[in-house]
Amino acid sequence: MTSVLFDAPGPKARARYLLVGILATVLVLGVVGFIILRLAESGQFTAAKWRIFSFPLVQQTILQATGATLSAFATAAVLSIILGALLAVGKLSDHRWVSVPSYWIVELFRAVPLLILMMIIYYGLPSLGVQGITPFAAVVAGLTLYNGSVLAEAFRAGIESLPKGQKEAGLAIGLRKGQVMSLILFPQAFRAMLPLVLAQLVVILKDTALGFIVTYNEILFQAKYFGSQAQYGSPIIPAAMVAGAIYIGLCLILSGIAKLVEIRLRKGRKGKVLEATPAPGGGGMAGD
């Protein structure tokens, strides 16, 4: 699409683009170089600052913290998808006493900041006499409530975008409403919304870092701990770099999987659309 916005460059334009390109490169390299220079000048690359990360015990702790991040992520991911499915089905329910509360739950938890949600669970609930709220539980519950609500909207949109004939056909062959939803509508909606679900999983993974503020023992929490060890020169910037590398690596892997799935889905859909073209008139049939 980019080529739409500008003509194929002639010799003059090519020279101009080259000039702008060089300028842009110099500018970017200048900024990056300045940051690296500052880092080097303030002694962030000295061996003393990085020594703490060469100890096996420290490395093990960081690995454990990564495990803690991943376990919070995995638990919250599974629970959010389940909660999202339940809330989506609830919002579409014919019974008002189900659909109205579902609607308000989704609206409510989408509007409250995730961090406030975690704080309500971690600091607020114990003051009401609820026992045994661990940081892990607070992080997972907060992530689940928020992302479940977001996913509920995605699933609902997916279900509503399905051709009406799907539901009618299901009812016509004698399935009950619950069966139509669980056997016919939801599987298709989930498939259609899979790219969005995976994108939301990346958000969940990133938001586990909020656990840092409610004292969950994850990557960033450990990074701050090691970063403030005075006898190793308080290597807070090296620690941030280590944490950043781990987070970016994990998120890029997840984003990569999301992209792969999206490409595969699109390919699969193309085949189906081709199959369906012989019946363009039958609105319900043409969809997948």
């Binding site: 500008f6 003509d7 490169t25 990133k206 870092a209 503020i213 990074a223 987070y247």
Partner: protein, 215 residues
């Protein structure tokens, strides 16, 4: 109710700073996001590459880590000292700008090809095509997702509470020093956020109606 009325000073101070964070971060993020979005569709390969790397790198970093770096790491660099507030605004802007850039880029894709082709046909160059013809239309098409990003930004400002900024997210910690129940203060904070988010949604609907593109 008494939790709110007795500590009105803390609540107003907190939400005032939240709104300051939101306002400045939103403006900087919108400017930077538009520039990066334009870079990603520009004819200069170097600019495209820089934009892509920036967006992919920052979008895959937790905001908490970015604020962590600016609040705790930056002071060690020996550069001019900045307050935690400014550090939070820089971090929030840099993070949100990537989302704005992606939103604007997807908006550019929704503008019919004929528009850009017509602009080129009458001799406009890339900068003119984008700023006079394509972007004004793209912006109108992306009002809803743009406001979603802004609502997310408003909620994300609470994360700055973890890094020594006195704003809505840190009201609880200050109130527990005064011996107020944590739950009551947190629920009030949540309530005000719901109100603010509802206001932004109303604003979104207003702009959507006002700037509807007839196609």
């Amino acid at each position: 109710m008494s939790t709110l009325l007795d500590n009105l000073d803390l609540f107003t101070e907190g939400f005032k700073n939240t709104l300051i964070l939101f306002f400045f971060s939103a403006i900087f993020a919108l400017i930077l996001g538009t520039v990066v979005g334009a870079m990603r569709v520009s004819p200069v390969p170097a600019a495209r590459a820089a934009g892509t790397v920036y967006v992919n790198l920052v979008r895959n970093t937790p905001l908490t880590l970015i604020l962590f770096f600016f609040a705790l790491g930056y002071p060690k660099l020996g550069l001019p000292q900045i307050s935690f507030m400014v550090a939070a605004i820089i971090g929030l802007s840099l993070y949100t700008a990537t989302y704005i850039a992606e939103t604007i880029r997807s908006g550019i894709n929704t503008v019919p090809i004929g528009q850009a082709e017509a602009a080129r046909a009458i001799g406009l160059d890339f900068g003119q095509t984008l700023s006079l013809v394509v972007l004004p239309q793209a912006l109108r098409a992306v009002i809803p997702p743009l406001f979603s990003v802004l609502i997310a930004l408003l909620k994300n400002t609470t994360i700055a509470a973890g890094f020594s900024v006195m704003e809505a997210g840190s009201i609880r910690a200050n109130l527990s020093e005064r011996g107020e129940p944590a739950m009551a203060s947190l629920l009030w904070v949540a309530f005000f956020f719901i109100v603010l988010v509802a206001l932004l949604s109303l604003l979104q609907r207003h702009f959507e109606k006002k700037w509807k593109v007839a196609r």
